[in-house]
């Protein structure tokens, strides 16, 4: 297990929802007015309004989980052509996905009832819900959004759809005063989607119209897989970062949020990919795992002509080289360093298949960075399995074949079994040397909640809820533990695994935070484990 005790304060971050049952809820109270945004029920009775917890739409990001991704068929042509990749949050409950409904909580007889184009002072009353705008980096890369219902025999009833433009037809009209229903929410490109909705109704008896606009935040993760290195050194107010730019897909990844898939070379005796480094920063639509302002500010801005990058370590089977800039075959020393006063481009080569972790340190004038990491998979894909992981580390450290093959084993007796180290590989788990700083725990500035921060690789655990899985848990006494997973998602404002990511986008390798209220004694413990 990976265990963490509570240490120091952290800035609060927005709330991220990755799976579970939530509603987009519309409320109207004659005194308080409208509210529109995500909500959930604590427990027991869905009709008991005291059980409802409301979240702010502007502070809540709904992230599509891995299992939401699939391929469109002809029946969904309103969203995109058959064969196109899409992410769908379905109207039917699936443990490995969101179950996102629409809910209206309004007392009867407040609003007029819409029947066709007429509004009447009878019935329980209805409101309308329109889609008025969709923006964000997803739509900017021609991503489409639609909301529809699947009928009993599979027919689609479309309510919102951006592919044919946004107009009066994007209308979920005549919602009864108390209703709850589920829909399919579809997206066709990674990135952010800001879906602006307008709820409106006509008050009784005058017919006066009242409305509210609110914008829902959706994020479709980038895969984190790239096939060449375009590293850019960034620096802002003393903080360094080595961003990996995916120009084609318009995203820059922060430390450990991406993995370079390196293909076999033409001669078949190694693996290689194009590689370049600069200190110019990168202005792309999406930033996953580092702040946008940092991503855009190249280190050369602060240290013109004086920026260097040095390879400190290579963990992986065989050797790695990057032209004359660094080679590991002759050992790693100060000669494996190169200036970045201009772009350096060439080929990154590996002699052996497997998982390769390269660590660097940047420096400029009197400033130097923390350790920065680039991860590569030679001859593997980003979703490499446990067997490939074990084989790679066995060869990297010269261990006998099979030394790491048992998921329940613990080769270095550090308390983390191999399965857990596989899940946390992207975060820096090492089955032989042990792992440092995999998780950290902090008390939020308000002092009421604590959180554990860690990196979750959704290529390794796709959140099916099936074993083996990576679960996060908390305890007040180190004896009684409560764990969260897709079967027990917890409650966002009470005990919950939320996001802790920087930037306006996310990778499928994303930083997460298990968050819970502190006990009256101010004590709390967290842990990660595989089971």
């Amino acid at each position: 297990m990976a265990l963490a005790a509570v240490l120091a304060p952290l800035q609060a971050v927005e709330l991220d929802l990755l799976y579970g049952h939530y509603e987009i809820q519309t409320d109207y109270d004659p005194e308080a007015g409208w509210t529109l945004g995500p909500s959930y029920n604590l427990n027991d009775d869905f009709n008991d309004r005291t059980q409802i917890r409301r979240l702010r739409a502007s502070e809540t990001r709904i992230i599509a989980p891995p299992r939401s991704q699939g391929t469109l068929n002809d029946s969904l042509s309103f969203l995109g052509p058959a064969g196109q990749t899409a992410w769908i949050l379905p109207q039917s409950f699936r443990r490995d996905n969101h179950f996102l409904g629409m809910r209206v909580v309004i007392d009867p007889l407040i609003f007029q009832t819409r029947v066709g184009d007429n509004h009447l002072n009878n019935g329980l009353g209805t409101i309308g819900l329109k889609m008025v705008d969709v923006s964000g980096s997803g739509p900017d890369r021609e991503g489409e959004f639609a909301l529809w219902e699947t009928g009993s025999l599979g027919e689609s009833i479309v309510f919102f759809n951006t592919q044919d433009g946004i107009d009066e037809s994007d209308d979920l009209s005549a919602l009864p005063a108390a209703t709850h229903s589920h829909f399919n929410w579809g997206f066709t490109q990674p990135g952010s989607y800001h879906v602006k909705l307008e709820a409106s109704g006509r008050l009784r008896p005058s017919g006066e119209e009242t409305s509210i606009e609110e914008t829902l935040q959706f994020l479709i993760p980038h895969s984190g897989a790239i096939n060449e290195v375009h590293g850019t050194l960034c620096h802002e107010e003393g903080r360094w970062a080595l961003g990996l730019c995916d120009i084609e897909n318009g995203v820059i990844y922060g430390d450990r949020r991406a993995l370079i898939e390196v293909q076999a070379n033409a001669t078949g005796d190694g693996f290689e990919c194009p590689c370049s480094f600069d200190a110019a920063g990168c202005s792309l639509p999406d930033s996953a795992g580092l702040p946008e302002s940092l991503a855009q500010r190249g280190a050369a801005t602060d240290f013109p002509g004086r920026v260097t990058l040095q390879l400190l370590e290579h963990i992986g089977p065989g050797e790695v080289s990057f032209g004359s800039q660094f080679q590991t075959a002759d050992g790693i020393d100060s000669s494996d360093s190169f200036p970045l006063d201009q772009e350096v481009a060439g080929t990154l080569s590996f002699t052996s298949a497997g998982i390769h972790t390269l660590t660097f340190r940047a420096s400029g004038a009197d400033s130097s960075s923390e350790i920065m990491t680039i991860r590569c998979a030679a001859g593997l894909l980003i979703d490499y399995d446990f067997a490939a992981w074990a084989d790679s580390y066995e060869r990297a450290y010269g261990l006998a074949a099979g030394s790491l093959a048992d998921p329940e084993g613990d080769f270095n007796n550090d308390g983390m079994n191999h399965q857990l180290e596989y899940f946390l590989d992207a975060g820096g788990a090492d089955p032989v040397r042990g792992s440092k700083a995999l998780v950290r725990s902090e008390i939020e500035p308000e002092g009421t909640h604590a959180r554990m921060i860690f990196l979750r690789d959704l290529h390794k655990d796709t959140l099916t809820g099936n074993s083996p899985e990576l679960v996060s848990g908390a305890s007040e006494d180190l004896i009684n533990w409560t764990y969260l997973n897709p079967s027990r998602p917890g409650f966002p404002l009470e005990f919950f695994e939320t996001g802790a990511e920087e930037g306006n986008a996310v990778s499928l390798i994303m930083r997460r935070a298990l968050r819970r209220e502190l006990s009256p004694e101010g004590r709390g413990f967290f842990r990660l484990l595989s089971r």
Binding site: H21, N41, N43, D44, D45, F46, N47, S68, G70, T71, L72, N73, S75, L76, A86, I88, L89, P90, Q91, S92, F93, R94, R95, N97, F99, E149, T150, G151, S152, L153, G154, S156, P176, A178, T179, H180, S181, H182, N184, G186, G465, T482, P486, S487, R488, P489, G490, F491, F495
Partner: protein, 246 residues
């Protein structure tokens, strides 16, 4: 007011199923709770629950629970569809455009049809104390003895999943709902008449002293050739078996 409504609806009453209480429209659930009766140890209580907007015996406005078998869930004629999707043939036991009566997964469709909007609810179980709750199909008593009952939904990409089907044992995985939740499905009946659907619910508590729990009950459905709003049952000594939620 209540009496007035009942008397109005008595006009036009038609033959009703033999059991007494008719649930004809609005939101209700097949639900599970873990609770105790006075003098009894706590156990699973597998029951029907209807929301205030549900219509039971012609009236609405009550949030009530019923022991399984007391309530008859009425599937009105408005739910009849012509089944032409070959992907649904095996699971539903209906093909080639033959009629099937479907309680819909969609609330808006149920409202349009004037039909019950029936779900499977675990809301009364605390999510941090229970994991997934499973509903399994044990047996089906159909009017002809050879009818098919089924429950299905679709993933976001339009692919059907049959969770319960008396015609498809190999694709009869059961319905799983996390504790503290609720889920809706399309519930299909291949013929008119009275049905008994025997279900088993099970789940495991995180409290080792409670552990695995299960309960099996039969729920009654009646597929009728008339609009459900014309149906009404006798009002009898039902107070003993109706429980208002606290």
């Amino acid at each position: 007011m209540k009496l007035s409504l009942i008397m109005t609806l008595l006009v036009g009453a038609v033959a009703s199923p033999a059991s007494a209480v008719l649930y004809t429209a609005g939101h209700g659930d097949i639900g599970i709770a873990y609770e105790e009766e006075p003098g009894e140890p706590p156990e699973f209580f597998f029951h029907n629950h209807v929301s205030p907007n549900a219509v039971v015996d012609g009236v609405s406005g009550n949030d009530e629970e019923f022991e399984a078998g007391v309530l008859t869930i009425v599937v009105p004629a408005s739910t009849m569809l012509s089944q032409t999707d070959s992907d649904l043939d095996t699971g539903t036991g209906v093909s080639g455009g033959a009629p099937i009566w479907v309680l819909p997964q969609s609330q808006s469709v149920a409202q349009t049809q004037g039909a019950p909007y029936l779900g499977f609810a675990t809301e009364e179980l605390v999510s941090t104390e229970w994991g997934m709750i499973t509903f399994e199909l044990i047996s089906v008593t159909s009017p002809s003895g050879s009818g098919t009952f089924s429950a299905w939904d679709f993933d976001g990409f339009g692919n059907p999943s049959f969770h319960l089907s008396s015609n498809s044992v190999g694709d009869n995985s059961g319905i799983t709902v996390p504790a503290g939740g609720e889920a809706h499905f399309n519930l299909g009946f291949s013929e008119l008449g009275d049905w008994g659907i025997e279900l088993r619910v099970s789940g495991t508590s995180t409290d080792p002293s409670i552990g695995f729990q299960e309960s099996t009950e039969t729920f009654n459905f009646s597929v009728v050739p008339e609009p459900s709003s014309a149906l009404l049952a006798l009002l009898g000594s039902l107070a003993l078996i109706r429980r208002r939620r606290s």
